[in-house]
Every structure is written in C-alpha cells, then in structure tokens.
Subunit: 110 residues, 2 copies
Amino acid sequence: MGATKTENFTDRQNAIATMAKALGHPARIAIIEYLIKVNTCICGDIVNELPLAQPTVSQHLKELKSAGIIKGDIEGNTICYCIDEKALHKLQTYFENIVTKLEKKKNNCC
Amino acid sequence: MGATKTENFTDRQNAIATMAKALGHPARIAIIEYLIKVNTCICGDIVNELPLAQPTVSQHLKELKSAGIIKGDIEGNTICYCIDEKALHKLQTYFENIVTKLEKKKNNCC
DNA sequence: AATCTTTATCGTAATATTGCAATATTAAAC
DNA sequence: GTTTAATATTGCAATATTACGATAAAGATT
C-alpha cells in the first residue's frame, strides 16, 4: 500500500486533511507567512527568501496552489502568488469550532 | 534527498508544520472528530469507528500523539486517548491571526 | 494458569514526498 | 532576434508515509 484511502472518509474530512497537509511542511508555512508579510502578492523574490533551491520552492508553491491555499496568476515573466483567503478562513472556522466544542464540553479526564 | 530540511526554518514554523502535518490525513481528522464527539476520552472503540485495520489506526494515533494533538494514558488494558486542547488552541490562534491580518491588509490583487 | 480482549510493535510492500541539477518555457529588455 | 530573468517541468535519488498481516505485550476474565 502507501496510498491514503480517501474514499473511506467524508469529503469534508478529506478537504480539511488536504489543506492541513499542504501546510504540513515548514517551507510552506514560511511561504504563506512571507505572503502575508509582504502584503502585496507580487512576489517574485520568494525564492530568495527561502533556504531552498528554486525548483523545490516552485514545487512547494504548486502544492499550496493545488490545495487551494494560494492563488497564482501569470503576470509577465513573473507569477503573482497570493493567499487564498477562503481556504484559510475555512481552517480558522474549523479550529475555532473545535476549540469552542472542547471548552463547552470540558472533557474531564486525562 | 527526501528529508525535510527542518534546520533551516524557525522553531515556530516547524511546530506549526508538525501539527498541521499530523492533521494532514483524513483518518486522523476522523479520529479527532470522533474524540470530540464522544466527549469522554475513554475510547476503546476507535478502531471500529474507522475503516482501517487496527495496526493502521494504532499508527495514526501514535502520530497524533507524537505531534501533541492527543494525549494518551494507559488505563488497564485499554488506552485512554483524548484531545490535547493546548495544541488545538495553538492552531486556532495561529489561523485566527492570519485571517485577521488578511482582513486588515485587504490584499488588493489577484 | 489458560484464555480473551485490547493495543502496540515488527516487518514489509506500495506509494508519496522532498530536494535538487539539468533543462524547458516564456516574456521582457536590449 | 538574442540575451536576460523568472518560473516551471523533468528526472532521479533519498527518505517518509500508508497500510496491513503477523505477532507481541499486558491486564482482565474465567
């Protein structure tokens, strides 16, 4: 085996897992933090910001994009990447919901 | 290669990535959702709840535990697993912070 | 003590991820 | 049109993940 059995889980569970997985690498965390920091999304210098080779960065960007975390549009010979707020909002809501439930239930063991 | 270059990123970036990675699998999302649902954390029937073999579930639990997402204590011949609220709180805060920043900056392209 | 029940670990196969050098692509600059 | 600059793709090696059968461990039950 080695392949995740996505078909056995709900779409929602798979969707959250996909987004979480995309953020499950420090380079990709660094990328989104940089995108947030620079405010604007014209960010041709992302490679210089990261301690990784250009193809590696490109690959991480591709993964973030395919998970819907970032959006990218071609803009001349540079790519304009920026955060997809919808995805991060979903994650935020998801975790907020969990935290709220945990607080409400006050799970009283362990 | 194939190994993540964790040494090139900050501890904070690695910490978030580790937690996100642990949640980057639908089975592990299903596990924490189940733990939340049952309220109590004495949960010997987690295997029956998931469409995976027992060793696989055990492995997923181990990963969640080593990432600090869940806590587990031995309790007779069963294990008492429950959510570690601290970890989820960190994630919630992290994403809330991002969303807040994004709203404030109103990133005006793409 | 033998058995049952539950969870962990080992071993292993299939697959995925990470990282980079080399190369391709594509548009701007000259 | 040639060079430059920026990003993408390809190919590949190293490593990690996913999944499960077999087996081990350890307390509970009889």
